[in-house]
């Protein structure tokens, strides 16, 4: 008598099916917003989507590729400026220009990485900051983009408020699909295994045949493009960009805060963190610097005592991943 063993690999869990259904509901609700929400709420939704996207990209960099960057604002700014230049100076349709403007962060990311890869760990981080500062100062000195005074997206007046809102919510849905969906797809793929191995130990991963250098390079460029898309959408909705705002180091602080509080090295963490940050900002933002002192101290405390953040604590209570990237082998015995 011989038992035939059937093996299959399970990837989805009950919690992930619920999360996926909820995710689709949220996306549909987001796209339908112009028909049920106020303009103020739509502006909030755009902002929240940009936070989630920027944080997700930072999480991919710091949480998986081991590349801590405090200069992501460089990519936000250049994508925003490219959009304004294309739409305002060249007359390109702004909604097409959003995607064309992604060339700028990609082109900036390549030499940035090639220069900075020589610096390890913390020095890489400050190196990215220097690059962002250099790009900010250079932008402030270029008269073509109106130097320090910044640019205004006047071409948007040709669209009605409703048309703009419909376009923005679709762009936001694309942004979320590209950053969260893209990260999820990447982590579930063959490269995801390599990335997870790299997160846990880059040297061991390299010994197993992972091309750590190339993977890091690809992640750095991909994260720059994702961050750039969020920046372009954000400043398109703002209708104005200045070097001080577009290249504000606060973008990096925000991404770090969101990912650290939410839980580094997980897709869920960045989403949770962005929600926490967004609502904390609405509730306590009026306290100004006192609120930022608390944010700073909270980041410090999490780095010292609770590296997993909120998602780490939730996982201790029960293993219910929203975006499972693990594979589970199920052996079924049949007579």
């Amino acid at each position: 008598m011989e038992t035939i063993k059937h093996m299959r690999v399970a990837r989805a869990t009950t919690s992930s099916r619920i999360a996926m259904t909820l995710g689709i509901v949220v996306l549909v609700a987001l796209v339908a917003m112009p028909w049920w929400a106020t303009s103020g709420n739509i502006r909030w939704a755009i902002e929240l989507c940009c936070y989630i996207a920027i944080a997700q990209m930072w999480n991919l960099l710091a949480g998986y590729a081991g590349l801590v960057s405090v200069g992501q604002q460089a990519f936000i700014g250049v994508a925003g400026y490219m959009l304004f230049v294309l739409a305002q100076n060249f007359g390109v349709n702004p909604f097409v220009a959003v995607f064309l403007s992604l060339i700028a962060p990609a082109v900036l990311a390549v030499p940035t990485y090639l220069l900075l890869r020589r610096l390890d760990g913390p020095y890489f981080a400050i190196g990215t900051w220097v690059v962002a500062e250099a790009v900010r100062l250079a932008t402030s000195n270029i008269d073509y983009v109106n130097a320090g005074a910044g640019m205004t997206l006047r071409v948007m007046t040709q669209y009605s408020q409703h048309e703009r809102e419909v376009a923005f919510v679709i762009l936001c849905a694309v942004l979320l699909l590209a950053t969260i969906g893209g990260s999820y797809w990447l982590l579930r793929s063959r490269h995801g295994l390599a990335l997870t191995a790299m997160r846990d130990n880059p040297v061991a991963a390299a010994s197993q045949g992972v091309n750590v250098g190339r993977l890091r390079f690809c992640i750095f460029v991909a994260a720059a493009v994702g961050t750039g898309l969020a920046g372009a959408i954000y400043y398109m909705a703002q209708l104005r960009i200045t070097p001080g705002a577009g290249f504000d180091p606060f973008w990096a602080s925000m991404a770090i805060f969101i990912v650290m509080v939410g839980g580094i090295g997980s897709i869920e963490g960045a989403i949770l963190g962005a929600l926490i940050y967004f609502f904390a900002d609405r509730l306590f933002g009026e306290f100004g610097s006192a609120y930022l002192i608390v944010l700073g101290l909270l980041t410090l405390v999490i780095a010292l005592y609770a590296r997993g953040g909120v998602w780490g604590l939730m996982q201790k209570l029960g293993d219910h991943p929203w975006f499972p990237v693990r594979r589970k082998l199920i052996v079924e015995e049949r007579a």
């Binding site: 801590v68 220069l115 390890d120 913390p122 400050i126 930022l292 944010l295 780095a303």
Partner: protein, 286 residues
């Protein structure tokens, strides 16, 4: 002659940067920690100095005598209560911890001192200058440069010849092996950070004498210190000094080209060094 003047002013500016960079070179060389709050701690000490000067009529020298011990205490506390918990192979925790500290400190200073720029009362020394040929040289920048030079030499000698320096280098090379031979790495680390921040205390008084300080200036000082350390070569004390000179001269020349380009020129020279000689000007041989 305009360019010779730019170079001289640049070297003098470099003296100020060297005082920021020395502490960073020491901390990175030993603990591989980059303290993101480095510049903010310096600004904090400057603001304390400005406030103290309003209460205590001790003069500039007296102020240094008061501020440096405060700086040493802050450095020791920073290492003992925060950084010692996050030192290790993974640079992320220390980076994030000091990043959070930096944001908290900046905003704390905003609450206490508001966003106004402040400086120490002008006691004459800041505006005195002397003439070499056709070039005017400020007395205070020269004092700053001499102090930076003496500090660099002193720190280098401490690293080379003292028992503490040997322990420091041993802990930097291999923490566990050093611990086995009787070096207490955590104590060595605390002393190193205390020295690093102590130097910042001196820099803080000079910075407040030379120009104005405001709570948001810290990140710029951090970036200059960092650039100086990388240009000079990581792990080299004299390298940090030399890197500061290069950075100062680059900024001064950029400033002559166009007032908006000074700091950008510094960044560009840094990126150029990274592209052509990533180990820095005075890289230690392996």
């Amino acid at each position: 002659m305009q360019w010779l003047d730019a170079i001289i002013q640049g070297v003098l500016l470099g003296g100020m940067y060297a005082q920021y960079a020395l502490g960073m070179a020491l901390m990175f060389g030993v603990m591989r920690i980059v303290n993101i709050a480095h510049g903010d701690v310096m600004i904090l000490l400057s603001l304390i100095a400005v406030s103290l000067a309003g209460v205590l009529p001790v003069g500039n020298i007296g102020l240094i005598v008061v501020i440096v011990p405060i700086a040493v205490a802050i450095g020791w506390a920073l290492q003992t209560f925060i950084l010692n918990r996050v030192v290790g192979a993974d640079p992320l925790p220390s980076l994030i911890a000091t990043f959070g500290l930096s944001i908290a400190l900046q905003n704390l200073m905003l609450e206490v001192w508001s966003a106004d720029t402040r400086s120490l009362p002008n006691s004459g020394i800041a505006s005195e200058s002397f003439q070499i040929g056709p070039i005017y040289v400020g007395l205070l920048p020269v004092i700053v440069l001499i102090c930076a030079f003496v500090l660099t030499g002193g720190l280098d000698a401490v690293m080379r010849y003292t028992r503490f320096g040997r322990g420091l280098r041993a802990a930097a090379a291999d923490t566990e092996a050093a611990a086995m031979t009787g070096v207490d790495p955590k104590r060595i680390y605390a002393t190193a950070t205390a020295i690093a921040v102590g130097i910042l205390g001196l820099a803080a008084v000079f910075a407040a004498l030379r120009a104005t300080v405001s709570p948001s200036d810290g990140s710029a000082q951090l970036i200059y210190a960092f650039e100086a350390v990388i240009i000079g070569g990581m792990g080299s004390i004299w390298g940090a000094f030399l890197g500061s000179m290069v950075l100062g001269v680059a900024q001064a020349i950029g400033l002559r080209v166009d007032p908006g380009l000074g700091i950008l020129f510094g960044h560009l020279v840094f990126l150029l060094v990274l592209a052509t000689r990533p180990e820095g000007i005075m890289a230690r041989k392996k």
